[in-house]
Symmetry: C3
Subunit: 269 residues, 3 copies
């Protein structure tokens, strides 16, 4: 019995990188379905990749093999790893990319450092471990190969973890980093519904980014935002997001990934 | 026996929206193939999505489940619907997106308003019915669930329909809206071959858009266009299109989606 | 027994062209898997498409049907062809696109000019042979139809071939054309490892493009490049490439596809 592969990367779809990984998997595991979760992770943004992967876990087949590649230090000493969490398996670089999904799946139960010679067909390119190490490792796991056949056991507590981006929360105020902007211009913030509740951001508010400030309303969905105003909602992955109905909030506010957005309840402070 | 799913949306491929819908479908219907028709529909452009879906019907498997999501009013009172037309099924919002394809397939024979609680696994996000309502509904239909198991019957004649974009046709003249620009810069117009015939646009003509006017020739294919001129052809979906061989007609003419282009036979008017 | 299809084109993924070809294949060969190698080949760049296809051959299933469409002269006299090479089959226009992959697979053993009426379901659009000729031809081959059932035999030596882009190599110096820029800004050059060895480019060097010159180091992988410098490496497809760690070499150097880049060893000339 085989497992589906859920594939995430920062390779984009303009080049052949994703397609070549698909070819490698098809050669090893021709019957295994590949679900392309996302390949437009901003280049080398390990944190964004990790959060996107974690947010997908409730929706994915429980026995999936997660193949994740955002790998700015490819070819150096960072370890290629394979993990078991819940009934899922995960493959990728040991740079902080996998732990958020791993935790969402119940935490790592077992881990190995992949030995490239156990999965690679030919000399390993120092710049494309997605093709030569991670994709074949995921294909073998999807076909039923055991985790320990891929490499040597490591302590799951030794995995690299990125620090979380915590929002700054006070009465009537939340300041949070922008973790992503989607194609509709929605600005996703590193804050959850509980942060908005704690700050009491429930009605009218002011949203600030860069030098701009604009009125906004707490809403449930895009269509509730009044014309020419902004909305603050909890998006489908559970993040606070600043949106504009039939407009582009990120562009209009000048908000960019990595920058700060401040939300302040009207009549406070 | 299962049906393939043909999936169209305005989600783009930079974000994880399409991939998460694939994961949801794989969880319910792991054996069902998904054909990604197009996800680059301009954001919230229901008309463009509907025309693209309709144009694909002659080429798709006759028993396909069409899953279409261009949904600017997600989370409001607009109904989620599932339809039967010919031997196909269609799922999407009731906002005008489905009727053009439905008509191309022979017209709606049966229709239901989907009840979210019959298909959703968990609380439904008010902003992502693609993931929580439409994708699971399509997956269940692809697995053989009956239309009437998804919700309550509705009158097919009550479906929302968008008005068609009619060209303005006279002797030696067609003016039409731009319904799309593709990656090659070809400018697709809301006019059909019959409109060009009626106006007598068969040889040399002048094409105007914005303040620009340029000579053009009626041709069958890109390579017939003389250097430095424009061509007018009937494209592969049956629309009139202004093209430039080895050039970008949209850019060079300043033509944009939603704008008007005028075609005038030389020596007339 | 069926074969997988490996699909490459310059159609991009914004429009429905790739999706409609998938639909056509699913109608003829519903069980055949399609591997999307790349659809972001620069529009009408036959050479780039041919090199990308050839570089994928070592990684693809040996019995694949290669479906490749970069076709600026669609609808004219250029022949649609199907080829046999090694244990693979290839389908596409006879414009130079297929021979590099064909050679990498062992050279063409057999060839036919496809007769459209043997594969098309309906009148063939003069502008979209991908949908009406090449995709159905590939689908039939993947289902086991013989090469000679698709058309008339032709002499493999009559296939159109593009001239190779040769670098200019001297002591301490390589000048080469830019054959591509990827999403990370890496600049791929029409030069191989052997060219760099022949010129003796092994240590510090100067890279020039446009009016700019900058220091660079020969490296194996991105992370070895010192801050604020450039790196020269052999990429995963065997091409020389100019890179910048955590930066965008193409943008910073002003290098563009089709332009020249010069590499000169420091202390020479």
């Amino acid at each position: 019995v085989t497992r589906p592969i859920l594939f995430l990367s920062d390779y984009g779809l303009d080049d052949e990188f994703v397609g070549v990984c698909h070819a490698v998997i098809a050669r090893i595991a021709p019957e295994v379905p590949i679900i392309d979760l996302a390949h437009g992770i901003p280049p080398q943004d390990v944190l964004a990749g990790g959060l996107t992967l974690a947010a997908a876990t409730p929706h994915a087949p429980p026995d999936a093999v997660y193949l994740a590649v955002v790998d700015p230090h490819v070819g150096t000493e960072r370890r290629p790893v394979a993990l078991e969490a819940g009934s899922a398996l995960l493959v990728g670089p040991d740079n902080g990319l996998l732990p958020p999904a791993c935790d969402a799946l119940g935490g790592p139960r077992d881990a190995v450092a992949i030995e490239a010679e156990k999965v690679a067909r030919a000399p390993v390119s120092p710049t494309f471990h997605g093709r030569d190490v991670f994709a074949p490792a995921a294909a073998h796991l999807a076909m039923g190969t055991g985790l320990h056949d891929l490499g040597v056991p490591i302590d799951p507590s030794s995995l690299t973890r990125l620090s979380r981006l915590e929002p700054d929360v006070g009465p009537g105020r939340v300041a949070a980093r922008v973790i992503g902007v989607d194609r509709f211009g929605n600005v996703r913030l590193a804050a959850r519904e509980a942060d908005l509740e704690r700050a009491g951001l429930t009605g009218r508010l002011t949203v600030s980014a860069g030098g701009l400030a604009a009125p906004a309303h707490r809403v449930r969905t895009f269509a509730e935002v009044p014309d020419a105003a902004y909305g603050l909602l909890v998006d489908s992955a559970g993040w606070a997001a600043v949106v504009r109905n039939l407009g582009n909030a990120a562009h209009d506010l000048g908000a960019r990934r990595g920058g700060w957005v401040e939300l302040r309840a009207d009549g406070v402070g």
